[in-house]
Symmetry: C2
Subunit: 435 residues, 2 copies
């Protein structure tokens, strides 16, 4: 096994195929309109995170594969894009960013004032068959609060996630909150040994109650205990759903919901059946879904967890979440959320060839004054250049003619109304920007 | 050879090492202060590109390895991070973004109004020994004008690159412009066969004139012709350096410089020895360097080229450039360019435990009104919470006490001056944002 090739013939034994190369399966090119929309919503999420006192971090696109194995177990290797570096280390494209963020905390931020509140945005990679809303290269926006273990911390994470979804403008979404501790304890009380609990929890997470029941009984649980556990997994509804649930978790969740209410955040529904698969979750767990997306409807998931010790750091409690950026945007699209990109302000057209240099003077001046401006680069005659101005969606055309230039003026044409007027060159930026 | 592992034991024959995992060699974590600086300058470049009528595109982190081989030749394979996908295709982390951008143009933009002006920003990967200013994961900001072959197009690309460097605030930089056609023709005239030209050009690019001379003579060039070629490669200076150079290229470059002058851009120096290594450059070539960086001083390179046909598209001429984002930022750092990040506006502190929920009310209200606000999450007593407000660099502390709250007020403390005053809760956003 090896990573980058040293011997080219291993990779290219066949003649190079000159048909059109495409982007690799499961990946996408984002063209200008879509990219502008994505940068806009990325900005909305970033702004919301910063407003809540989170600060951005960025980790590499790849990590030592071991990092993800430590977090998620060896099965994760089947879903990783893996390769070796020149030192023979096993590397992998990141499948998620919580592990890298916590690694970065352990390496470089463990002495910072706590809690450290960080967020991140970027590509993640999953080596699976592409399907609707699931890509091999996908984007996550996540946040972590590291170094505090209080109901306030959990409330802050849930509130930030919900504010983000709201800030995106998504209307149809549903948030649910639970506490992994309730089910874990109930399984233990029912007599399910700790090493058999994960498979049971996995079934409960998928609402496969019959399978969970069989597994519990096969693992030595009493029928009564097993049924009681399933009863807990089905608890959902308003805050009153917590009434009658034993243990300290209901009280803890009530505190979280109390802080959310204080912050003016609509309370998530209670759902004690949320499991979120992985062992490192320690307490509160939550999910946000957009039902319009159908089967792949989860757009955000999070909870409190302990990872830093696994990565060689001090034990530190954290709460975090990640928003599936692609799915959130897909949900917005399904809701028909309008997005109007910004096109170029002005397209400068020379009336004749001898005015071309003057057109470039005007373009340079406009840009220096904060106007986005484009200019014909293809030696087009005026009529064709005007057509191009329209094709690129420019708001205005600036027509540079010899006669008008002689008196220091140009013609400003509003491309939507077709209205034209003479404007002094020095007054152009104000005329275009409208102040 | 294979990519992602199917058999875990191949990757983990050894017990997992629990010492602290680091980011992979040649990669970096960007912590909040640095990340804020990077996002700021990324924004400056994006703004400059948009102002010049460029629109953003984004391509995948990895591509079919073939794409880069087509562009740069098979030697590039030694510098790629490569792996296979489940379909057995050879993939590679992108070493640069011109090839992906042109592939994307060929796949999806070839029917758009031309020229297509696009820009992109992101990670690239180079499988080499890390050294100062050179990372295995590095960042490029690039732009391409696709589908026009005029002096105006070349001027637009050079002007945009120079405006970007200026917009970053870099002071010590030097731009040089040349035309690959002059040297190419001179080599042919001297009798160097086309297949021997690349090695000669490579030496000339590195200013290894003696080696270039020997190679030319070994390739069958006359001594006179070889010396004349070297003479041309040494031509540099102001626009008058073009006087006496035969061929159409000097006239073409004069036109490019004319349009640059019209746009108000300081003219680059003439340097006919710029080669930029690769065969696909067809005409104008340019480079910008920051001498403060020493040996690795080039921060931008570009020129006109033809690539789309190579990737299976129609023949289309393009001009583009890429800025080495990491080096540009390193140059700014060496110049001591000041950067002041934005810290959180307000840190909300409860005077006592029973005021905690009220503190969260205030935080929620502040954020909804556009104030970035943080709050104690660690059950700190007031004095320690005030210390934390200072540690996170908050501009203000908002102190929530029972007595003040009874009259709907809180104490607003300016963290730099220490000045305190009572403010009505509803007046807090205006008091903090200063309007």
């Amino acid at each position: 096994m090896r990573g980058a090739p040293r011997n080219n013939t291993l990779i290219y034994p066949h003649p190079i195929d000159l048909t059109m190369i495409q982007s690799p399966r499961g990946t996408r090119d984002f063209l200008p309109d879509e990219m502008e929309r994505r940068r806009f919503y990325e900005g909305v999420l970033r702004q919301t995170a910063k407003r809540a006192g989170f600060r951005e971090v960025q980790t590499p696109i790849f990590e030592e594969a071991e990092l993800f194995v430590l977090k998620s177990g060896p099965n994760i290797l089947n879903e990783l894009y893996a390769f070796k570096d020149k030192g023979g280390r096993d590397l992998a494209l990141r499948p998620e960013m919580t592990a890298p963020a916590i690694r970065s905390f352990v390496n470089s931020m463990s002495n910072d004032p706590k809690p450290v509140k960080m967020f991140y945005f970027g590509q993640c990679f999953r080596y699976e068959r592409p399907q609707s809303g699931r890509y091999r290269e996908f984007f996550q926006f996540g946040a972590e609060i590291v170094g505090a273990a209080t109901p306030q911390t959990d409330a802050e994470a849930v509130a930030t996630a919900l504010e983000m979804v709201k800030a995106l403008g998504l209307k149809g979404y549903r948030a649910r909150i639970g506490h992994i501790g309730v089910l874990r304890r109930r399984l233990a009380e029912a007599g399910v040994p700790p090493d058999r609990a994960p498979e049971v929890l996995q079934r409960l997470d998928k609402r496969l109650y019959d399978e969970a029941l069989s597994l519990m009984e096969a693992a030595g649980a009493s029928q009564e205990g097993a049924e009681s556990a399933i009863g807990v997994a089905r608890v959902s509804g308003g805050i009153e759903a917590l009434d009658g649930i034993a243990g300290e978790e209901p009280g803890y969740l009530r505190q979280v919901l109390g802080y959310l209410a204080a912050m003016g955040v609509d309370p998530p529904e209670i759902d004690l059946g949320i499991v979120r698969g992985l062992d490192y979750y320690t307490g509160m767990v939550f999910e946000i879904e957009a039902p319009a997306l159908g089967a792949e409807k989860q757009i955000c998931g999070g909870g409190s967890y302990a990872l830093s010790e696994l990565f060689g750091g001090e034990p530190v409690f954290s709460t975090g979440f990640a928003i599936g950026f692609d799915r959130a945007l897909l949900a917005l699209e399904k809701e028909g959320a309008p997005f109007q990109g910004e096109r170029v302000d002005a397209y400068v057209v020379a009336v004749s060839e001898d005015m071309r240099a003057r057109a470039f003077e005007v373009v340079g001046m406009l840009r220096r004054n904060g106007v986005s401006a484009d200019v014909d680069l293809a030696d087009r005659k005026m009529a064709k250049a005007m057509k191009h101005a329209s094709a690129v969606g420019s708001r205005y055309a600036v027509i540079v003619g010899a006669e008008e230039m002689a008196s220091g003026s140009v013609t400003l044409r509003d491309m939507s109304s077709g209205e034209q007027r003479l404007v002094k060159v020095e007054g152009l930026p104000a005329a275009i920007l409208g102040h």
